[in-house]
Symmetry: C2
Subunit: 205 residues, 2 copies
């Protein structure tokens, strides 16, 4: 649709090495996510802002979720996480969700970044909203659409309520003995809750 | 132990009406909670800081928890809340905890204040730490000591994880349909989780 990847936008530098292009894409994405939120940012707009061909964005990032994950610096490939969870099916989904969730939070650098994002959620800045939409669009909604027996939105919100609280209690407030427990002990304690939210009987709404 | 309630501290105004004294106590408590946290603040120190007799602090506030609740402006009497929850016993405790929790958060002014406190918890300021200690000392620990069948700290942390997440999902992030659901529908959805955390079988630690 657009011209060559270099010099497609007037006023941008005409030629660059790939290493620069990837950095430019990330910088452009960071600006756009912060200005327009997750849903308001398209890969095409990122390419335009970075002055590169859209194909180059796709070359570096499998999709918007991967790009966003890289921008906020969490070591999570959303597509791979979805695959792991969905492969576990309805019976194992609760445990798989908890393992993916904990594997992300247990990584110290990621934990530091996520703590700020989670506790800033009330600030209603576009960057916080982008994080919320990213979690909802790239992870929660697709997983719930596959795994939940019915009422995916209601079940998804309940799952999210337990996961957000787990993050707050274990990583932000650091409530003991939850904060110091091995991840697998947390999985065992909390899995029945997520299992019921995913596939268990809910009272009539 | 100290002298008369007025003029006991050099440099303070000598005479005041009760209305002023209550306001002075609250202002002094706000300063001390912010400086020293919840656990580090005694009613005696508040009296000294306010320049009043300790008996006057007890006249206005049943205890430290009540004083703190008034300082942060949440419409909750912790002693009454504890009584309501404990009266429900082990079978009804989960529902009672959720009803008390939601009744506090549903009040718009309180919700506004709590939103800031909860999302500021990562800031590690004494005021945030004071809020955490208040919840733990005045509510969670006494309730868990009575209601939990065993391992009150482990069970209490799990209860707190679901409650914090419920607050985040319903009142901070405002995740639908959880945010718009009637409080009693939320109670019904979440009560089995709290019930298991309180009295259900937990995996061996």
């Amino acid at each position: 649709m657009t011209g060559g990847r270099a010099g497609a936008v007037p006023g941008r530098r005409g030629r660059r090495r790939d290493g620069d292009a990837r950095g430019d894409i990330l910088a452009a994405a960071r600006r756009l996510f912060a200005e327009r939120g997750y849903e308001g940012t398209s890969l095409r707009a990122v390419a335009r802002e970075a002055g590169v061909d859209p194909a180059l964005v796709h070359h570096y990032f499998a999709g918007k979720a991967e790009l966003y994950g890289t921008v906020i610096g969490i070591g999570l490939d959303p597509a791979a996480a979805r695959d792991r969870i969905l492969a576990a099916g309805r019976d194992g989904g609760a445990v798989a969700i908890l393992r993916v969730f904990l594997s992300v939070w247990e990584e110290p650098t990621t934990q530091e970044r996520l703590r700020g994002l989670v506790t800033g959620l009330a600030a209603a800045s576009p960057l916080q909203a982008a994080y919320r939409d990213f979690v909802a669009d790239a992870l929660l909604r697709p997983v719930m659409a596959e795994l939940a027996v019915d009422q995916p939105d209601r079940r998804g919100a309940l799952v999210a309520s337990q996961l957000m609280g787990l993050a707050m209690a274990r990583y932000v407030v650091r409530l003991e003995p939850l904060a110091g427990a091995p991840a697998e002990a947390v999985v065992a304690d909390v899995a029945p809750t997520l299992h019921r939210y995913l596939v268990g009987a809910l009272p009539e709404a």
